[in-house]
């Protein structure tokens, strides 16, 4: 009886190498660029493919969740900080942008960048106390902020209390809205992918793997963590600011649990540590969640269960799996 086994070979291609030999043929060129092109063109096509304006709105929401998921992935897999409070970033960015728009009269395209930067600064400042520490503190504090802030706004009747901030300007038209958020997803997705390979990214990953060594090299861990948290919360705040202008309203529901749990689920399903997986995960989860809209909070149960199943049984996620398979030759060989 002849036995065969499956042999797997990894295909090593070096891009952005120091020599010129990296890309020699159209085949190799397309091998490298095709997956990226599919993603980019696919996302640019999406607004045209949607049947009606409701689903076009869903595309914008998907992109906002994708930004949030990117921020989670960046913090969790390149810095080792688990943020359980995406809603905190959304809330801060959203309220800031809404207030700048309604009280100061800034147009959305001024309010959004300002809210992003200012919000990221505020979030970083709020999270600063737990940055010098290792362990679960960051998760705990980020879990608490959205809950506590919602309570404070409700209790002190700040920013319109339970009614929220009404009359926020919307984007000029739906196409601008969609292409703006899609462009932002591209910017931050490819931006963070570049960032983690620069020197700064190297230090951040070192902080995750061995903070003592980073400290021994004379670098301040708190400083680098603060930079990374600033970048991640900028993504979250941007997402919140856009959300406010899409819904033309800012309220306590910005601190809702959906914003905390869905990005985590998307990251785990899509594949953590790839910075593309989270975006894919959002494209899978958010439409499902729209279809389940009538079930109310059962959606959160659904995400939680999916998340639990993935993290316990398939923690690598779709993207890591796909990437591995894409780079492998498989063939049957005689034993």
């Amino acid at each position: 009886m002849e036995q065969r086994r499956k042999e797997r070979l990894d295909r090593g291609i070096k891009v952005r190498s120091d020599g010129l030999y990296a890309l020699m043929s159209w085949r190799e060129l397309s091998y490298l660029t095709l997956p990226r092109l599919v993603l980019i063109i696919g996302m640019l096509m999406l607004p045209f493919l949607m049947p009606n304006s409701y689903w076009q709105r869903v595309i914008s929401i998907v992109c906002l969740y994708a930004l949030l998921a990117l921020s989670f992935d960046f913090l969790a897999h390149f810095l080792g900080l688990v943020s359980l409070g995406g809603a905190f970033f959304i809330g801060v960015g959203g309220y800031l942008s809404a207030i700048m728009n309604t009280s100061l009269g800034l147009p959305p395209f001024m309010a959004i960048p300002l809210a992003t930067l200012l919000g990221a600064g505020i979030c970083t400042l709020f999270l600063l106390p737990c940055l010098p520490l290792r362990g679960v503190y960051f998760a705990i504090v980020t879990l608490m902020y959205p809950l506590a802030l919602a309570r404070v706004i409700e209790a002190m009747d700040l920013f319109g209390g339970t009614d929220g901030v009404l009359g926020v300007d919307s984007f000029p038209n739906p196409w601008v809205e969609q292409y703006f958020v899609i462009a932002m997803v591209f910017l931050f997705m490819f931006g963070t992918r570049r960032l983690v390979n620069t020197d700064l990214g190297l230090v951040l990953r070192a902080v995750k793997d061995n903070d003592q060594a980073v400290k021994a090299s004379g670098m301040s861990i708190t400083y680098y963590k603060a930079i990374a948290v600033f970048i991640a919360s900028a993504m979250g705040c941007l997402s919140g600011a856009c959300l406010v202008h899409i819904y033309m309203w800012a309220g306590i529901s910005l601190f809702a649990l959906d914003f905390s749990i869905l990005p985590i689920a998307a990251t785990v399903i899509g594949g953590g540590g790839t910075l593309v997986g989270p975006v894919l995960g959002c494209f899978i989860l958010v439409p499902i969640s729209e279809l389940l809209r009538e079930f109310g909070t059962l959606r959160i149960v659904f995400y939680s269960l999916v998340l639990m199943a993935f993290i316990v049984f398939r923690s690598e996620g779709i993207m890591v799996y796909g990437e591995r398979k894409y780079h492998q030759f498989e063939r049957w060989v005689k034993v």
């Binding site: 737990c130 520490l133 998760a139 809950l147 993290i311």
Partner: protein
């Protein structure tokens, strides 16, 4: 004087909420974000036994606590055990479990004012001229009893000593033949039952609502961080600090600020003394 009495009651309540979390974290190093969910489960199970099956109150309490303990053990045995040691996955998994349970209850229609448990005993007594109802007195008594029981349990019984050994040094405990996975299951079941006990004592003071789950989780975590994660005696002491601080803010600022007190306590502790009052970890390990 009323600040003193109500402060003591509030502190005992906080200690009851926090001990389960502290126990689980101390022994298995898993931050149990499902703690609040277990609290709410006990409340609803008791309510169902009492109202739907018309069981005796005491019997339904016993049943609810056993069910919660079993759920805790199952959560550990089938889910958390697989991600143990992977800190990111631990946090996410336990958070997801807690959310699934709490939001599942909310979806199942368990909301509103209709879900209340009766007090153990009616009536109020006067302490130094201040009326205190019996249920609040029970909170203090049971809180003290639980602390005493835990102390005796971890100092004099074989199981308790094994748990304490594991909390102190897991590898050494393994070498002495203590099965760390089994002990962690026991710890999780015990922690779940403690949170259930807290629920049973505290819930008659208000309604059973899903939001309590988040509140309890946050207050428990605040107490544990101020007391030092994993330290039981620290948690008890911290419960008194936060408990009195909360009563002071309620008296002088308003009732809405209880959550803010918890948050501020955490932030201050992290800035000033990250390992807490009685942190068992060396400060160097925590502060990189």
């Amino acid at each position: 004087m009323d600040i003193f009495i109500y402060g003591t009651i509030n502190s005992a309540a906080l200690a009851l909420m926090a001990l389960g979390f502290a126990l689980v974290y101390g022994i298995s190093r898993i931050p149990n974000f499902a703690h609040g969910a277990l609290y709410v489960i006990t409340g609803f199970v008791t309510w169902i036994c009492l109202r739907s099956f018309h069981l005796n109150y005491f019997l339904s309490i016993l049943l609810a606590m056993i069910i919660t303990g079993v759920i805790g053990a199952l959560i550990y045995q089938f889910i958390l055990i697989r991600v143990r040691g992977m800190s990111i996955s631990e946090i996410i998994a336990s958070y997801a479990i807690g959310l699934a349970i709490l939001e599942g209850f909310r979806w199942g229609g368990f909301k509103g004012m209709t879900y209340t448990l009766p007090a153990f005993a009616d009536g109020t007594i006067m302490i130094e001229g201040i009326p205190v109802d019996m249920q609040r007195l029970f909170v203090v008594i049971i809180g003290a009893a639980v602390v005493a029981f835990l102390w005796a349990f971890t100092h004099f019984t074989r199981l308790g000593l094994a748990l304490r050994g594991m909390a102190q040094d897991e590898r050494a405990a393994l070498m002495l033949g203590i099965d760390s996975d089994r002990m962690a299951v026991v710890a999780m079941a015990l922690g779940a039952m403690l949170s259930g006990l807290a629920a049973i004592v505290l819930l008659p003071l208000g309604n059973i609502v899903v939001e309590k789950g988040y509140d309890v989780l946050i207050q428990a975590i605040a107490v544990c961080i101020v007391g030092g994660l994993g330290s039981w005696m620290g948690a008890v002491l911290a419960a008194f600090i936060i408990g009195f601080a909360q009563i002071f803010t309620v008296v002088y600022l308003g009732a809405h600020f209880q959550m803010v007190v918890a948050l501020l306590a955490i932030i201050l502790t992290l800035i000033i003394r990250p390992s807490g009052l009685f942190g068992r970890q060396k400060e160097l390990e925590e502060r990189v």
